[in-house]
């Protein structure tokens, strides 16, 4: 594992306008554009990084947040290793919707054990002065919903963005360790009648 590069798929979900694309662009290109177009459709960017000696390629998927586009984005949930639930600290509604995003993700990503799935919560737009969501509220939500790590980020001034992605990677890697040790590999048995011949599988 340490010598190989793993590909991890993370997906950014949250209401329209909370800054999903900006977070992704800040992290991957280290740029910020306040007037970036809102996302239409689905996009993704790759980023290589090393976390605790693990080489990782993050494939970050960014989606359109409006409800109407649900059928477009949900097919892309499948196979995600981590989900970044994003809201904006200056938009209470986007915070209230976190639960819906979580539900939508679990449903469409077909997560086997939702309670173990690594979610990370991002409260973006920390740079904005008028907050509608307090850190305490957000932290409480995270605690109550599965003890998710919570980061207050600013895509604009780069606060906590890289840290949050790295934490996401750590969570995924930690999951893997656990999975490898605890869960026996699923097995498919293909029964055939035995045969006496020495030939096999010909």
């Amino acid at each position: 594992m340490t010598t190989k590069t793993s590909l991890l798929k993370v997906i950014l979900l949250g209401d329209g306008g909370v800054g999903k694309s900006s977070i992704m662009n800040r992290y991957v290109t280290n740029k910020f554009d306040a007037h970036l177009f809102h996302t239409i459709g689905v996009e993704f960017l790759n980023k290589d990084l090393e976390v605790d000696g693990h080489q990782v390629t993050l494939q970050i998927w960014d989606t359109a947040g409006q409800e109407r586009f649900r059928s477009l984005r949900t097919p892309f949930y499948r196979g995600s290793d981590c989900c970044l639930l994003t809201f904006s600290v200056d938009d209470n509604q986007s915070f209230l919707n976190l639960g819906n995003w979580k539900k939508e993700f679990i449903y469409y990503a077909d997560v086997k054990e939702p309670e173990k799935f690594p979610f990370v919560v991002l409260g973006n737009k920390l740079d904005v002065t008028e907050r509608q969501v307090s850190s305490e509220e957000a932290q409480q939500w995270c605690q109550e919903n599965g003890d998710y790590p919570y980061y207050e980020t600013s895509a604009k001034d780069a606060t906590n963005v890289a840290v949050a992605f790295e934490e996401a990677v750590r969570r995924v890697l930690a999951m893997d360790e656990r999975t490898d040790h605890l869960i026996p590999t699923d097995t498919v048995k293909l029964h055939r009648k035995p045969r006496s011949a020495t030939t096999c599988c010909s």
Partner: protein
Amino acid sequence: MTKTSVCRGTLTVQLKSRRRSFRALGGDQGRGFRILGGDQGRGFRILGGDQGRGFRIWVEIRGGPSWFRVEFDCGVSGQDAEILVDYRPLEDSVDPSNMLCAGKDSSSVVQWSQCPPAGGSRNCRDGPEPEPQSSETEWDLVNAATYRRRGGSAMSRSQDRSRWAFSAAVGDLRSVTVKDEGWTFLILQLKEPSTSCSTSCSTSSTLPPLHFHQGGSREFLDSLRRFALLSESAEDEACLLVSTPNRALSQSFENLLDDNNYSLVHKFRRDPYVTTLGSFSKVTNYILEALRGAEEAQQRPPEEVADLLGDIIPGLEINQQEEPGFEVITRVDLGVRPPVSRAAPLSPEDWRRHRDAEGSMVDTQRLRHAVFKGGLCHAVRKEAWKFLLGFYPWSSTLEERKSLHRAKTDEYFRMKLQWKSVSEEQERRNSRLRDYRSLIEKDVNRTDRTNRFYEGLDNPGLVLLHDVLMTYCMYDFDLGYVQGMSDLLSPILYVMESEVDAFWCFVSFMDQMHQNFEEQMQGMKTQLIQLSTLLRLLDLSFWNYLEAQDSGYLYFCFRWLLIRFKRELSFQDVLRLWEVLWTGLPCQNFHLLVCCSILDSEKQKIMEEKYGFNEILKHINELSMKLDIEEILQKAEGIYEQIRSCKVLGLLRSRNGAASTRPAQAERPPPPARPRRSGRLHPPGPGGAAASTRPAQAERPPPP
């Protein structure tokens, strides 16, 4: 009678992964084996087994939204009792950006172990037991249909697959015909109608064609030559007659180890990847599942093809002339794409020449044609767009337009006042209005902000954009505001420089685009399906490639279609494209040909680089702002001319049964898909009944 030479014992496929474990979808592999245990989840599925030598299984693994084909060969190590097999996937069949599981995971193993003789009572297969010692060659080829219906149970999927599965003993083969249609496909003919044809291939003695879209037919034939003599038929050099000396038939696995296969197995142990890559053919029968049975596909009269095209592109006139004595069968054969030239934009003088004393526009047919060929000078746009969009009738006089404008101005401000006069308190109780407003405010802030009309903090353009969108919510509250609408309004407002005019032109444009934004996004679904059908007719090999990458649904064109290329082109080019499209010339849905034009330009890159699902999406997304509108329009018009002038003839068959040099029906490749609609094109009949049991394509789930 076909003799099976299958693995007996317990085949345990364990796919261990660091990050996920896989479960089988289940399914009958035709003749190879089927899954008894394992949860019927989603994650991976086994597609088929090749009982040629050793065996090979294809497993498709879910990675993200796509399925990835992993082929692996089971070589042998150890003794009878327990055989451990290493596998690695064929790299080129796995999307490297999504190798979540297979390629990078050395802990994956395939395990094959023999059951003790008594332990195999859980025989999974009915029917005659394979004879002991039988290890004759048997090809077991399973067609993989790459369209998957969501919601279909695992069982129905596997049934779909096994419908196409067949197996036949080499000894029963009469001939193999090699055909080429941009890819190679083989048609296996049995000696006589045979019961050994194990599945749905009816009573025909021709097996479903095997398509090698990614090459490998040569290897297939070479493998076949190990067991049979193939000699060219005297009449047709593409037809190889099969004869099977006993020697070949009696080859056992031990024998196989003696000849070049030994080294294969030997090599495989050392380097499974290289060996696998180099040694086996890939059969990629992308039978256009859900489309039709072979019988349905046999014939398609020219009017059907024309009808189909006409359905997608209303206004398209197709030359439907038939050559006497022949009937058209399956394909559109496009001729050479004619050269097309574009013209200069229409000048203000040109425009004025089409206006009579009363101010009515005259000779509008020619006028629109001129706009189609060259677009408009910017100075003309403000006036001309109102006609093109239908805000002003072409025949209206200047006086009529003035009074229309007055009425529309009143109407606009009446609606504007409606949302303007909603108090904060009222809005608190109106969540829909609140949501619309919040979304509009956010999106206005991020629409074309580098354009001088919308740049800066206090640009009046921003207020106009906001107000027109809010008023549109009042005009059509059911639809309200949907992301993408600000993109459609922005160029119109930029050209009109007037709130009222922009609003009504936007209303006209939205009349065309409305379905794209509706709750079910029916407009998007329809367009994607139409585009896919069109592409399949125009460029089957490319369509097949996309299909093989799970991209046949053309998902990556979503943004193009939702907002008419607004994000793909520079602002000025958007203006040009839209005015051309608004002429309604040369046919409706010309924008779909624009899509085909762009795809045609990207096809080579996509196929050469072997892009998979993700790369295709990324590549198309990244074309944004790199496209040249004149080039695109030129090619799109060329494609239109190609379609228009093609004799929808393709492969011909003599109608009165006279000898024909054309391939007989049975030897034809799968034709382009049936039209994605049911009903009138396919009256119930021998084929129609089959068609009606399949879901209409329009019901295909959202991709991928």
